[in-house]
């Protein structure tokens, strides 16, 4: 496979998978802590994703980074766009933005958006009140 063919194959994989992660190792056997953390966040969101191990051929990483202008691994793509590496994905996960972007439910342990300027109401508005 020539370098150009590798780059085309990468571009096709990005275009053909709504969520795709380029990582070191595989989701079952990640070979790097940053890749492992990114996989763990995607799995916590129970979102299906494609994964590509960049380790078998150094040209995969070379061509991927040339394509994405992003030097490090992992790289998470959604609908053809680079969402980021482990740092950005972590920030987005913690803020709930990742779940929102991917269109999935946030996991139970993720912080929920606090209502803006919520006063400590003595009695929360119950469902009965809203229906009456």
């Amino acid at each position: 496979m020539s370098d150009n063919e590798i780059r085309d194959a990468i571009a096709e994989a990005i275009a053909g998978n709504e969520v795709i992660l380029f990582m070191k190792g595989t989701p079952d056997r990640p070979a790097c802590g940053f890749s492992a953390r990114t996989v763990a966040m995607l799995e916590a969101l129970e979102t299906p994703f494609a994964a590509v191990d960049i380790l078998p051929d150094p040209r995969i990483r070379q061509e991927l980074s040339a394509l994405s202008s992003w030097p490090t691994i992992p790289q998470l793509f959604h609908k053809g766009e680079l969402l980021g590496g482990c740092d950005i994905v972590s920030e987005m996960y913690e803020s709930g933005e990742l779940a929102e972007t991917l269109g999935v439910q946030p996991p139970p342990d993720a912080p929920e958006d606090a209502p803006a300027g919520a006063d400590p109401a003595p009695t929360p508005l119950g469902i009965e009140n809203r229906l009456s």
């Binding site: 030097p71 740092d87 950005i88």
Partner: protein, 73 residues
Amino acid sequence: MPSASEVKTRIEAAIPGAQADVETVDEVHFSASVRATAFDGLSRVAQHRLVMDVFGDELGGSIHALALKTEVP
């Protein structure tokens, strides 16, 4: 091997108005928190690219890892 203060200086010199806090335990893995007005209006990916571009090929070479957090002041 760059020191934390060298990494900080280079980020601040390259990005107008940037303020960087850089930490490292081994001078190979770095963690940087960068605030810059130049980030205004950019996506996180574009903000990180601005910082990573300062180091080019050194990332993955003499700088094994650069953990980044960017914000607009």
